[in-house]
C-alpha cells in the first residue's frame, strides 16, 4: 500500500462532510512525515479501515453519552408522571375537601354577618317600639 491508496481507502471509509477534517488531518500527517517515511507511516497508522473505525468509535461513544443524558431526563419525567398518577386518589379528594371547607367557611361567615344585621335591625325596631 502507498499513501495514495491509503488516503483513497480512508475517504471511502469516512465519506461525508463530517469527516472532511479527518481526511485533511491524515493528508497533513503524511506531508509532515515526509515521502521517505511513507511506508513506515502507513505501517504505523494501521489499515485505513482501522483508522476510520477509531474515529467512528469516538463518535459512537459521544452519541452514547448523549443518549445517557436524555435517558436520565426521560426517567425523571417518567417518575414525575408515576408520582402524579399515584398521588391522584389522595390529592383529588383532598382538593374537594379543601374546596368544601372553603365554601362552608364563606357560607357560615355570611350567616354570621346576616344574623348580626338581623340583630341590629331587631334592636333598632325594638328601640323605636319602646319610644312609642
Amino acid at each position: 500500500m502507498n499513501r495514495e491508496k491509503f488516503m483513497s481507502e480512508l475517504k471511502t471509509a469516512l465519506s461525508g462532510d463530517n469527516y472532511k477534517e479527518a481526511i485533511a488531518y491524515y493528508d497533513e500527517y503524511f506531508d509532515e512525515a515526509g515521502v521517505e517515511n511513507e511506508e513506515k507511516t502507513i505501517a504505523e497508522l494501521g489499515s485505513p479501515k482501522n483508522v476510520a473505525a477509531l474515529i467512528r468509535a469516538q463518535e459512537t461513544i459521544k452519541q452514547m453519552d448523549g443518549d445517557n443524558i436524555s435517558a436520565k431526563r426521560g426517567w425523571r419525567s417518567a417518575w414525575i408522571t408515576v408520582g402524579l398518577v399515584f398521588a391522584a386518589p389522595i390529592a383529588l379528594p383532598l382538593a374537594i375537601a379543601i374546596a368544601a371547607c372553603a365554601v362552608a367557611l364563606i357560607v357560615s361567615l355570611g350567616a354570621v354577618v346576616i344574623s348580626l344585621i338581623a340583630t341590629a335591625c331587631a334592636l333598632a325596631i325594638g328601640g323605636i317600639a319602646m319610644c312609642i
Binding site: 497533513e28 509532515e32 497508522l45 477509531l54 474515529i55 469516538q58
Partner: protein, 105 residues
C-alpha cells in the same frame, strides 16, 4: 510503557503538551509516542473529541505551499486539564501506596 492507556490519559497528555505550546498533529503524535506505546492513529480521535468539547481550538499556518493545522488549548481545556491532573495525582498516590507494600502503615 506497557500499561494500558485510557482515553482520559491521552486527553490529559495532549492538553498538557498544548499547555506548553501550540503544535500540529504530527509533532503531537511524536511527542506522545516518545513516552507511550500508542498507534499514530490514536491521537486524531483524541484531538477531535477535545475540539468537540471546546477544550482546544485550531488555526492554520501556511507552510511550504500547504497549511499546517495548529492546535491550541482553550480556557475550557485548562479547566479540564486541572481536573485531570488532580485525578492523576490521587491515582498516582493510591498506586504508590500499594506498590510500597504497606510501608505507609
Amino acid at each position: 510503557m506497557a500499561l494500558q492507556i485510557g482515553n482520559n490519559m491521552l486527553d490529559m497528555l495532549v492538553l498538557a503538551i498544548l499547555r506548553e505550546n501550540d503544535t500540529y498533529g504530527y509533532v503531537l503524535t511524536q511527542r506522545v509516542q516518545s513516552i507511550l506505546d500508542v498507534s499514530g492513529s490514536a491521537l486524531y480521535p483524541v484531538l477531535r473529541r477535545l475540539l468537540q468539547v471546546g477544550a482546544c481550538a485550531t488555526y492554520d499556518v501556511p507552510f511550504g505551499g500547504r497549511n499546517r493545522r495548529y492546535y491550541s488549548i482553550t480556557t475550557t481545556g485548562h479547566e479540564l486539564l486541572r481536573g485531570y491532573i488532580s485525578d492523576w495525582n490521587d491515582y498516582r498516590d493510591a498506586v504508590e501506596q500499594i506498590l510500597k507494600g504497606g510501608d505507609g502503615n
